[in-house]
Symmetry: C2
Subunit: 203 residues, 2 copies
């Protein structure tokens, strides 16, 4: 089975084991993001308290075989970056976007149709803008567990695909319904995205 | 076509027109919730900045005919109630939970498989705890547009169903994957939910 997220091409998410769940019990101050240990990025500990951008189901730009199980992808952004985007229609330095993958369940409790999200996190990926640190300004990280992760090499397809198709500053704002109108109004949509959209409209 | 959300039985959401989108441009102070005008509740203006609990797809406790279009339901809670839940495993007075329904799209931009969320909000429902105001402590409201809405009468099925099956204090915490472990650890799961879960395990 091949399972590829739109957000990051690079990671075969379904191959990852479920990450351990550590429910937050206290109310710590928001962690500064991004944070690193040497050449590794720390997993943002409090991303579930960030701003929700959207959720998708089984998204892929590969029309091939359907997955053998369904997966939701929840996307969050740190609140400071979100506030800046609302003002400007684009992302400031230090923007941190998290994609959290969760398995989908159908039958459970009183649910008899449709899908809801499982307790197990099946994958966690981060897209971070850190202009001083990364030559291309942005970098991707995939976390297998709570340990800091190494940057995904820039030779991976995710970088080229985000550059070629993402609506705003290499991020897939076209899939974040409350942000797309802001970017449209501010004129911050990428030339690549506008070209894709024009080609789709002409078909 | 019959389309019923798990969160609120009462509203035929798919019959609602898409609500007008008003992207937030400034950073107003968080609105106090709940807020009323006479016997009507004001629609929370900033719920997209609240804490995301989960999203489902086409959820229904009616196993009947599949819907003729897919719908995501995003659930948010006000931050103060979320912080209290993390400490206590249950909801404080004034808790406000929002269910936002959005249509699902399949083909668009580079997406070729799976579903993502549309720009149009197809329905908005609120479940609010206000002990001094409502004899049953909680009440439901469905918003057709930005205008304040009247409470859904307590004779509606949603009240009975939430009382009979919801995991914590008449709310469907069993579908909120980060909250269920907290409620389990705090021992705040309802007797009705534990009975449902026991019956399901015995089948």
């Amino acid at each position: 089975m091949q399972k590829i997220s739109l957000f990051l091409l690079c990671t075969a998410l379904s191959a990852l084991p479920a990450l351990a769940q550590t429910p937050p019990l206290a109310d710590p101050a928001p962690a500064a993001v991004p944070s690193y240990v040497g050449d590794r990025m720390r997993k943002p500990p409090d991303y579930r308290d960030w701003i929700y951008l959207s959720a998708g189901l089984d998204m892929s730009y590969n029309a091939g075989q359907a997955p053998d199980h369904h997966m939701f992808g929840n996307v969050f952004v740190d609140p400071a970056a979100y506030r800046a985007f609302r003002r400007s229609g684009t992302w400031p330095d230090k923007t941190t976007i998290v994609l959290e993958m969760r398995g989908a369940r159908d039958k459970g409790s009183i649910n008899r149709r449709g899908l809801y999200q499982d307790g197990d996190v099946m994958g966690l990926e981060v897209h971070v803008k850190d202009e001083a640190r990364f030559p291309g300004k942005w970098a991707f990280f995939a976390f297998d567990d709570d340990a800091p992760a190494r940057m995904i090499p820039t030779s991976a397809n995710c970088y080229a695909c985000h550059a070629a198709h993402a609506a705003v500053d290499t991020t897939f704002v076209q899939f974040y319904p409350t942000l797309l109108p802001l970017a449209t109004a501010r004129g911050t949509l990428s030339a690549a995205y506008l070209q894709d959209a024009g080609a789709a409209a002409a078909r």
